[in-house]
């Protein structure tokens, strides 16, 4: 969805990175204070193995993965004094944790050997005859055509190839292949695969082995961007889960969705589910339509009068209000725009239950739509901003440089403004998901949240407007002008101010809006220079997962909960969904 392939080239952004902290553009970039470092969006420089300050992850290309895997295998092989193949099998069994392998091996080598299938001595002995019978096809084979694993069970080469072919074709389970004899657990390693399997199977096996190094290792994950072959090695517990791959895709390492600070992973998952859920269609149908009394198909009223006619082949005519046959309606029952019967029944409370459900569905739908529309709008806006940024970098910067007779290094404030816009749109988008799940009854928090969000949003709009529209003027100017310097000051100022607003917003949300009691409901600005706020943010970050969970508190306490079946946000405590009655 957010794949930014080719958007930010390593070469383009390299020079920016170098100068970023030099203070040229006057933007405060005190990394230690910033709760979110929007460098995550800009590309890393070409040398991916450098650990930048505050960075807790490394991007791994395929060569790096191979290299690391080889190193680990060599290390285990040396320390345990076993063959490379055996080391590989051991590591695979213990999910590529070198320390686990060492611990388990030196604790109880015999048990490990037994569990993994690394036999020390053969179990079966080949008879001394020139021909041996294969245990699978039961045909006689010359001795040199017979192969076996460490156990000694004999099978002919053709049968081995077929056996391996079947196993490799069944998937990554082939990495744990054992001797065909069901009573024997001898492990089959890559050496035997390379000796006996078909060519394509050998390659498949190698690929599975490489993939296993990333997939079975809890510290590494593949970059989820389509077509990207890089993996990310992440050090958990040191703050934000946002990582930025070399392919310029930014994602949350924890849940592999797109980067979604400051909202936590469970909320994001629920929101995405809700967006795709069929439930919203159902809610809409419930809120806006009624079933034809005769054929039961949902009907939406599109005109003023109460006289409804169902579509062919049904063609039943009925009153919208009371769903009775139209033939019985007319002046006596209140005319064409009202229905006495309906009014009477309503007073008697006949429709209460279904009306109530309809009302609830409507409210729920309206509320959801309110947040969804804004989420989606910011999403589109961000896509456009990314496109504009790309265009700026590739085309306009040069053009502007010519027109205004300024070197490109003096124009970096424009790139920074766009980078800021892109990041802020992302944050703003996710704050709408946050707002949706914030309980209605937490008035103080809601007010505080809406205040912060409003400030941030208006700042962003001003910035975006300036970068889009005013820049155009200067881009199309004939020659340099003084107004350009004013523009520079203005844009840089707006970038800085917007950045502050968003830092406040992010910090507050990551603290679960717990500052609300100390700062009051509205009117008080939470300043980034506020020492109390900063240290709270730092402490919260250091706790890693715990600061995340405060963000999730609204979803897990008794107040509101999302139905698994239809994703309706139930506000009452209880275990039955109000909308679909699912448990």
């Amino acid at each position: 969805m957010d794949s930014e392939d080719d958007m930010l080239d390593a070469n383009d952004v390299e020079s920016i990175d170098d100068d970023f902290y030099s203070g040229d553009t006057g933007i405060e970039s005190d990394d230690a204070d910033a709760n979110y470092d929007f460098d995550n969006d800009s590309d890393d420089s070409g040398d991916i193995m450098i650990h930048r300050p505050q960075q807790n992850y490394t991007i791994l290309k395929e060569e790096d993965i191979c290299e690391r895997q080889e190193e680990d295998i060599a290390s285990v092989s040396t320390v345990l004094s076993i063959s490379r193949v055996a080391a590989c099998i051991l590591l695979r069994h213990y999910n590529w944790s070198v320390s686990k392998v060492n611990d388990e091996w030196f604790a109880d080598e015999a048990r490990v050997r037994q569990a993994v299938g690394l036999l020390e001595k053969p179990v079966a002995e080949l008879p001394n005859t020139p021909e041996v019978i294969c245990g699978i096809c039961f045909e006689s084979c010359p001795r040199k055509g017979i192969e076996s694993a460490a156990c000694g069970h004999p099978f002919c080469q053709a049968c081995w190839a077929a056996y391996m072919n079947t196993s490799i074709g069944d998937g990554p389970g082939c990495l744990m292949l054992r001797c065909p004899d069901p009573s024997c657990g001898a492990a089959i390693g890559q050496d035997m695969i390379n000796k006996l399997a078909h060519h394509e199977d050998k390659e498949k096996y190698s690929r599975y082995l490489l993939r296993s190094y990333i997939e079975n290792n809890r510290k590494t994950k593949w970059c989820p961007a389509p077509g990207c072959d890089y993996a990310v090695d992440f050090v958990v517990g040191s703050g934000s889960y946002d990582v930025s791959c070399l392919c310029s895709h930014s994602f949350c390492w924890n849940c592999t969705e797109e980067a979604h600070r400051p909202v936590d992973c469970p909320t994001v998952a629920k929101w995405i589910l809700k967006n795709s859920a069929e439930s919203e269609n159902m809610n809409w149908i419930l809120a806006n339509s009624k079933p034809c009394p005769k054929c039961k198909r949902p009907i939406e009223k599109n005109q003023g009068c109460m006289h409804m006619t169902c579509t062919p082949p049904c063609k039943f005519e009925f009153c919208w209000l009371c769903l009775g046959a139209w033939g019985e309606h007319g002046e006596r029952t209140g005319g064409f725009y009202a229905c006495n019967r309906y009014e009477t029944a309503k007073q008697e409370g006949v429709y209460d239950e279904s009306e109530k459900r309809r009302e609830m569905a409507k409210n729920s739908l309206e509320r959801y739509t309110h947040y969804y529309e804004r989420w989606a709008t910011n999403q589109t806006s961000r896509q456009k901003a990314l496109a504009d940024l790309h265009q700026m970098q590739t085309l306009h910067l040069e053009k502007l440089s010519d027109r205004q007779r300024q070197p490109e290094s003096q124009l970096k404030f424009i790139i920074e403004a766009w980078l800021q816009i892109v990041e802020c749109r992302r944050v703003l988008k996710w704050t709408y998901a946050y707002g949706y799940y914030l309980p209605e009854n937490e008035h103080a928090k809601r007010q505080f949240f809406e205040y912060l969000q409003g400030e941030a949003e208006s700042g962003l709009e001003r910035l975006h407007q300036c970068a889009e529209k005013e820049l155009q003027i200067h881009l199309n100017a004939d020659g340099p002008s003084n107004e350009f310097n004013e523009f520079r000051t203005k844009l840089a100022g707006l970038t800085s101010v917007t950045r502050n607003y968003f830092e406040n917003l992010v910090r507050a949300l990551e603290n679960g809006l717990s500052d609300v009691d100390s700062c009051g409901a509205s009117g008080k600005t939470v300043n980034s220079k506020n020492a109390g706020g900063t240290s709270k943010g730092r402490g919260g970050r250091g706790k890693g997962s715990s600061s995340r969970s405060t963000g999730a508190s609204r979803s897990d306490d008794g107040d509101t909960w999302s139905c698994e079946h239809c994703t309706y946000a139930n506000s009452q405590s209880g275990t039955t969904c109000q909308m679909c009655f699912h448990l």
């Binding site: 049968c159 077929a162 079947t166 065909p180 069901p182």
Partner: protein
């Protein structure tokens, strides 16, 4: 000989020929099997109920369908005879119901004919055969290319008196086996008798 002997060259067929030879030369007690006349990949087999058990005297028929992946993949085995066993799926004709959307009759017809229309759905029935398949580990994830037809049939035979309660394919039989052994044995003897007459 078998028709189409020029197909003998595949490893699966060679192996099946060898399995058949072994069955004929060295048959394990209480089992027998042979490929169908012009198709070595489809076998008919009979398992006799073990002596001195409620299964005693039963002649239970099965089919085994092999593929070219044999022996690296197990055959599909199913009982043709009616069985009552916790790990064997029911084998009888059953009706499968479908909901069909129908046009509701006009209101006056409902009134005149006294038809009670509850919804716009009607139930249609279809007869299907449930498959008589077997929940046995060596026929699924614990398969090994070392097993042959004799081994498969022998394992199934021992399963008869030794059900595995952890993978019940027939929940009624499974429950009865653990709660009401007497009734269970009675039902077993019933299908033993049925196995003599069914074809």
């Amino acid at each position: 000989g078998f028709a189409g002997e020029n197909k003998m060259s595949t490893p699966a067929r060679k192996r099946l020929m060898r399995d058949f030879k072994r069955l004929q030369q060295d048959p394990p007690a209480g089992i027998s099997g042979a490929p169908q006349d012009n198709n070595i990949m489809l076998w008919n087999a009979v398992i006799f109920g073990p002596d001195d058990t409620p299964w005693d005297g039963g002649t239970f028929k099965l089919t085994l369908q092999f593929s070219e992946d044999y022996p690296n993949k197990p055959p599909s085995v199913r009982f043709v005879s009616r069985m009552f066993h916790p790990n064997i799926n029911r084998c009888y004709t059953s009706t499968k119901s479908y909901l069909l959307e129908v046009q509701a009759p006009p209101l006056d017809a409902i009134v005149n004919l006294g038809i009670f229309v509850v919804s716009k759905y009607a139930v249609a029935s279809e007869k299907v055969y449930a498959d008589g398949s077997i929940c046995l580990d060596i026929l699924q994830n614990q398969w090994s290319p070392i097993y042959d037809v004799a081994a498969i049939l022998t394992s199934i035979q021992s399963l008869l008196c030794d059900p595995n309660p952890n993978s019940p394919a027939n929940s009624e039989a499974a429950r009865m086996f653990s709660e009401n052994k007497r009734e269970y044995n009675r039902r077993v003897r019933e299908i033993v008798e049925q196995s003599w007459t069914a074809d």
